[in-house]
C-alpha cells in the first residue's frame, strides 16, 4: 500500500489527489493520497456511523424542559486486535475533538475485553493480559477498561430470557446441581473462578470439533459483551468489525447453517436478543457516577430502574468501522502518532486480528470455519475489495424475522400463537414465550418452519433434538450443528 516517498521537499512530484497540497504517500481505494487525507478518510467513515448511532441514542429531554442531562453510554468490545484498537483510538479522538471545541463529551465509553484464553489467573488474581490492558489504560486514561473471563457467561442467571439456557444443550450442564431446574429456581451459590474456568474448559472440550469450539466461543463472547453492556447501563455495544470482518462473518455464519439469523449479526441496530415489547428485564439503572461502572453489579434482574423514566433501555449493536477494509485499519494503526502497533504487540501474536477469540483454542491441524474464511478473504480482499463490500451490503438487505410462521408444526401447539402474544400477554407468560421462540444457546429467533421442512435431509436420525426436549429451549440449526457435530 505504501508508496515510495516523493523525490524532494518543496516540489510535489505526486500531489495528493484529494488535497493537492501534500505529497502522495499512500494509495487508498485507487486514489493516490497523502497520509493526512487517508487518516481523515478513515476517521470520517467511522464518525459517520457514530453520528448515526448518536441520533438513535439521543437522550430524552428532561421533563422540566431544557437540554438533555443524561449522557450516552456505549460499550466497546475490545479484542486487543487491530480493528477494535483502531476503533478505540478513533472514539478517543472524537471525544478529544469535541472537548477541544468546548463541547461536552458526546458519550461515555466502557471498554471490555472478553478473555477467551481460558487460562487461570495468576496468584494475584490478575489475568495474563493485565499488562496489555494497562498499556491501553495508560494511553487512553479517559476510559474504564475491564477484562472479563469468558467463563463469566456461565454465571449468567438462567431466569433471564436473553441468557443461555444451559438445559437446552446436549452436553452436561455446567452446574450439575442446576440440571432439570425450572426457571423459578434461585441461582446456586457462586462457584469460584477456578471452578468456572474448569467447567468451561470441560464444556468446550466436550464439543465435537475445533470448528464447533470456535463457534461456541464466538457465541459466548458475544453473550458476555451484551450482558456487560446491559450491566453497565450502556445503550449501545460497539464492535470493531471491518468490512472484511463482516464479510467473513457473513460467509462463516452461512457456512455454519446460520443463514436465518444472519441479518441480525451483520446489521447495525437493536440486539436480536432484545425485545421492545417486554419492558422489565434489562432496564438496569444507570450507575450514578463514573466509578460505579468499575464494579460489575448484576442489576439485570431488577425491574424498571427509576432513573430510566420507564423507558426500556434497549441495546443497539453497531459496527462503526463497517465501511473500512481490514488492511486500511492496519495501515491506519501504523500511522497514528504514536503508532498503535506497539499496543497490538502486547497481546499474544495470535490476537492480531479481529477474530482473536477463535485463534487460541484451535490446534494447528484442525481449523475453524472462521479461520478458513479469514484465509479466503485474506486472498480476496486485496484483489476484489468491491466484492467484499458487496457481501456485507447484500447480507444487510435481508430482513430479519422474529419468529417464523410454522407450516405444519403440530408438535408445539402452544407456540402457534406466539406472535400474537407479544403485547397482550405480560410478565412471566410472554417471557416464557420469548424463551421458547429462541434458540437456547445463541438466543436468535428459531426458524421453526425451516426446521420442519429440513428434517431428514442430513441423513441422521437425531433430528428429533431440533424439537427440543420437553420444557427446554430448542436449539437453532446452527447451534445444533455446533454442539452435536
Amino acid at each position: 500500500m505504501e508508496l515510495e516517498p516523493g523525490a524532494g521537499p518543496g516540489s510535489l512530484t505526486r500531489p495528493c489527489s484529494k488535497c493537492r497540497a501534500r505529497e502522495t504517500t499512500l494509495e487508498s481505494r485507487s486514489h493516490a493520497v497523502c497520509k493526512d487525507c487517508f487518516m481523515n478518510f478513515v476517521a470520517t467513515k467511522c464518525i459517520k456511523q457514530i453520528g448515526l448511532l448518536g441520533k438513535e441514542t439521543r437522550p430524552p429531554p428532561p421533563a422540566s424542559g431544557g437540554p438533555p442531562t443524561e449522557t450516552r453510554r456505549y460499550l466497546l468490545g475490545l479484542s486487543l486486535g487491530v480493528s477494535s484498537t483502531v476503533l478505540l483510538h478513533l472514539l478517543n479522538e472524537n471525544i478529544e475533538f469535541q472537548l477541544a471545541k468546548g463541547r461536552n463529551a458526546p458519550f461515555e465509553l466502557v471498554v471490555i475485553h472478553v478473555d477467551t484464553s481460558l487460562f487461570l489467573p495468576d496468584q494475584n488474581g490478575q489475568s495474563r493480559l493485565a499488562p496489555a490492558l494497562d498499556a491501553y489504560r495508560q494511553r487512553y486514561p479517559r476510559f474504564t477498561f475491564h477484562c472479563i473471563p469468558l467463563s463469566s457467561t456461565l454465571d449468567l442467571s438462567s431466569t433471564n430470557p436473553d441468557d443461555i439456557d444451559w438445559s437446552s444443550l446436549p452436553f452436561r450442564s455446567p452446574f450439575s446441581q442446576r440440571q432439570g431446574s425450572s426457571d423459578s429456581e434461585p441461582s446456586p451459590p457462586q462457584p469460584s473462578i477456578d471452578d468456572t474456568e474448569k467447567t468451561l474448559q470441560t464444556l468446550l472440550a466436550s464439543l465435537p470439533s475445533a470448528a464447533s469450539r470456535a463457534d461456541i466461543v464466538r457465541l459466548l463472547t458475544r453473550h458476555a459483551l451484551v450482558s456487560q453492556a446491559h450491566q453497565h447501563g450502556c445503550q449501545a455495544l460497539l464492535l470493531g468489525h471491518s468490512t472484511t470482518a463482516l464479510a467473513e462473518l457473513t460467509l462463516a455464519e452461512a457456512a455454519k447453517g446460520r443463514g436465518f439469523s444472519l441479518p441480525w449479526l451483520v446489521r447495525d441496530g437493536p440486539s436480536p436478543t432484545d425485545d421492545d415489547e417486554d419492558d422489565d428485564d434489562f432496564s438496569s439503572s444507570i450507575p450514578d457516577d463514573h466509578t460505579a461502572t468499575a464494579s460489575v453489579n448484576p442489576t439485570s434482574n431488577h425491574a424498571g430502574g427509576g432513573k430510566d423514566r420507564g423507558r426500556r433501555r434497549r441495546l443497539l449493536i453497531y459496527h462503526p468501522l463497517r465501511e473500512l477494509q481490514r488492511r486500511e485499519l492496519a495501515t491506519y494503526a501504523s500511522l497514528t502518532e504514536p503508532a498503535l502497533t506497539p499496543l497490538l504487540g502486547l497481546a499474544s501474536p495470535s490476537l492480531d486480528n479481529s477474530n482473536s477469540s477463535n485463534n487460541r483454542i484451535v490446534s494447528h491441524k484442525d481449523l475453524s470455519i472462521e479461520e478458513v474464511m479469514a484465509r479466503y478473504f485474506g486472498e480476496v480482499e486485496a484483489e476484489y475489495p468491491s466484492v467484499i463490500a458487496n457481501v456485507v451490503r447484500t447480507a444487510g438487505k435481508l430482513v430479519p424475522r422474529e419468529v417464523t410462521e410454522h407450516e405444519g408444526d403440530n408438535n408445539d401447539d402452544d407456540e402457534d400463537d406466539y406472535e400474537d402474544d407479544g403485547e397482550t400477554a405480560g410478565g412471566e407468560g410472554s417471557k416464557k414465550k420469548r424463551r421458547e421462540g429462541r434458540c437456547g444457546l445463541c438466543r436468535m429467533p428459531l426458524d421453526l418452519a425451516g426446521d420442519e421442512r429440513w428434517r431428514g435431509e442430513l441423513g441422521e436420525k437425531k433430528e428429533i433434538s431440533l424439537q427440543g426436549r420437553k420444557g427446554r429451549s430448542r436449539l437453532c440449526y446452527g447451534c445444533e450443528r455446533s454442539t452435536a457435530g
Binding site: 457456512a255 455454519k256 447484500t394 430482513v399 425451516g450 435431509e457 441423513g459 440449526y477
Partner: protein, 402 residues
C-alpha cells in the same frame, strides 16, 4: 486387524466413510441410505405425481448418470409411476460431446429408457465448435450455458414433457449460494436454492432431486453401483482456478463435513428473508442499473466442469461492482445516503426510484416473463438471451463469409 462393523446393519464390515457425516457403512447400506435420502427429498418436496412424464437431463457425466440410475431404482421400488426419458443436448463439441453421447446411449440401453438428443446445430444452426472458431475460447461457456438452458426446455417440449430433472448436487447449490452472496444477487440466490424452478407460466419446470446429495457421495454411489459414466472435462471449459467459491466449499467441507448442507440450509433460509420479490427494493445500483452478467443457468455450469467458478468470474464481478461504484460517485446525495446506510433499519422505508436515467428503469422489473419476439421462447426481455447471442454470432459469420 479388528474391522469396524457397519453402523447401520451392524453385520457387514464397514467399508465406506460417508462424506456427509462420516458415518461408517458397508457398501449395501451406503447405497440404500443414499437412495433413501433421495427418496425422502422427492417425497417431502412432492416432486412428482403418478403417471408424470419426466425428462432426465443427461450429459453422460456422473451426476446425471447417478440421477438416472437412482430415479429408475426408486421409481420401481416405491411405485412412483413415472415415465422416464433421457434427454441429451449435443453441443457439437468433437472429442468431448460425441464421446459422452455414446455413454448416454449405453445408459439408455442399460436403464431401458428412451433417449432424445437435441443438438445446438438443429436449434441454432451453430455447433459449439463453430462458436469457438468464431469468438475464441474466451466466454464460450456463456453461449453454451444460455443455449443449453433453452435447448433442454425445447427438447422437453418436443417430447411433450413438462418436467426436466437435472443432476445438480449439494455442492453445486452451496457454490451458487456463496457465489450469489459474493455477487449480491438475492433474486438468483432465491431461485437457485429452490428445488423446483419455473412457475406456472413457464411451460417446463425443472427440479433437482440430488439437491441434498454430496458430490463425493454421488461419485461413491456411481463407483459402487458400477455405473457407466463419462468423466472427461469439456475441452473448452476454463482452466483450474483459484479463489473461487468452489475451492472455499471444499475447504469448509474438510473442516466440517456438514458444511455443504449447512450452506444449502442457510441459502434456503436466506431466500425466505429476501424483501419482496425482487432484490431491487433497495435502489442499489448493483441491481437496477447494471445487472451483473452471468450465465442464466448459473448452477453447476454445464456439468462437465463440475460447476466450478473460474477466477475470471470473480474478476468480472469485481469489475462490474467497481463500475457501479464509479457511477454511484456521480450520483446526487440522496443516492449516496441510501447506499451508505443500506444496512440500517430505516433504510427499508426509503424506496425512491432514484435512477430513471441510467440502465434499466425500475419500472421494468427483471423477472416479468414474456416471450421472445424472435423464437417465442419464454424471456423476460423482448428478445431472449439466446437470440441476442445468436444475433452476435450471425453478424460475425456474415462478415467472415463476405
Amino acid at each position: 486387524m479388528v474391522s469396524t462393523l457397519c453402523a447401520a446393519c451392524k453385520t457387514e464390515r464397514a467399508y465406506i466413510k460417508r462424506p456427509k457425516n462420516h458415518a461408517k457403512l458397508c457398501k449395501t447400506c451406503f447405497i440404500s441410505v443414499f437412495e433413501d435420502e433421495v427418496h425422502h427429498t422427492i417425497t417431502s418436496s412432492h416432486l412428482f405425481y403418478p403417471g408424470e412424464k419426466v425428462a432426465i437431463g443427461a450429459s453422460g457425466g456422473k451426476d446425471s448418470t447417478v440421477l438416472a440410475s437412482v430415479l429408475k431404482t426408486l421409481n420401481e421400488r416405491h411405485g412412483y409411476g413415472l415415465d422416464l426419458v433421457l434427454l441429451s443436448i449435443d453441443e457439437g463439441i468433437k472429442g468431448y460431446r460425441d464421446d459422452s453421447l455414446e455413454t448416454v446411449k449405453r445408459n439408455a440401453v442399460q436403464y431401458n429408457m428412451p433417449l432424445k438428443v437435441v443438438s445446438y446445430e438443429e436449434l441454432y444452426d451453430w455447433t459449439m465448435d463453430q462458436v469457438v472458431e468464431t469468438i475464441g475460447k474466451k466466454g464460450n461457456c456463456t453461449y453454451c450455458g444460455v443455449f443449453r438452458r433453452q435447448a433442454l426446455d425445447r427438447g422437453a417440449k418436443k417430447l411433450g414433457i413438462k418436467h426436466v430433472v437435472t443432476g445438480h448436487n449439494a455442492d453445486d447449490i452451496a457454490e451458487t449460494v456463496l457465489m450469489n452472496l459474493l455477487r449480491g444477487d438475492l433474486a438468483r440466490l432465491s431461485r437457485s436454492t429452490s428445488i423446483v424452478t419455473g412457475d406456472n407460466r413457464s411451460e417446463v419446470k425443472r427440479s433437482k432431486p440430488l439437491k441434498y446429495s454430496y458430490e463425493k457421495e454421488i461419485v461413491l454411489y456411481a463407483y459402487h453401483k458400477g455405473l457407466d459414466y463419462f468423466s472427461t472435462e469439456c475441452i473448452y471449459s476454463p482452466e483450474a482456478f483459484r479463489g473461487g467459491p468452489r475451492s472455499l466449499i471444499k475447504q469448509l467441507e474438510r473442516v466440517r463435513p456438514s458444511a455443504i448442507l449447512d450452506i444449502v440450509r442457510s441459502g434456503e433460509d436466506m431466500a425466505r428473508l429476501i424483501p419482496g420479490d425482487s432484490p431491487s427494493s433497495c435502489a442499489c445500483k448493483g441491481q437496477t442499473s447494471a445487472p451483473i452478467a452471468a450465465d442464466e443457468d448459473d448452477i453447476g455450469g454445464c456439468g462437465s466442469q463440475g460447476g466450478r467458478t473460474s477466477d475470471k468470474r470473480m474478476a468480472a464481478i469485481e469489475k462490474q461492482l467497481r463500475e457501479n461504484e464509479a457511477h454511484e460517485a456521480l450520483e446526487i446525495d440522496v443516492a449516496k445516503v441510501k447506499s451508505g446506510s443500506s444496512v440500517g433499519e430505516r433504510d427499508k422505508q426509503i424506496d425512491l426510484p432514484l435512477r430513471n436515467g441510467s440502465g434499466l428503469a425500475r419500472g421494468a422489473p427483471r423477472q416479468v416473463l414474456g416471450t421472445c419476439v424472435r423464437c417465442g421462447y419464454m424471456s423476460s426481455q423482448a428478445i431472449c438471451q439466446a437470440c441476442m447471442l445468436l444475433e452476435n454470432l450471425n453478424k460475425n459469420r456474415a462478415q467472415i463469409q463476405i
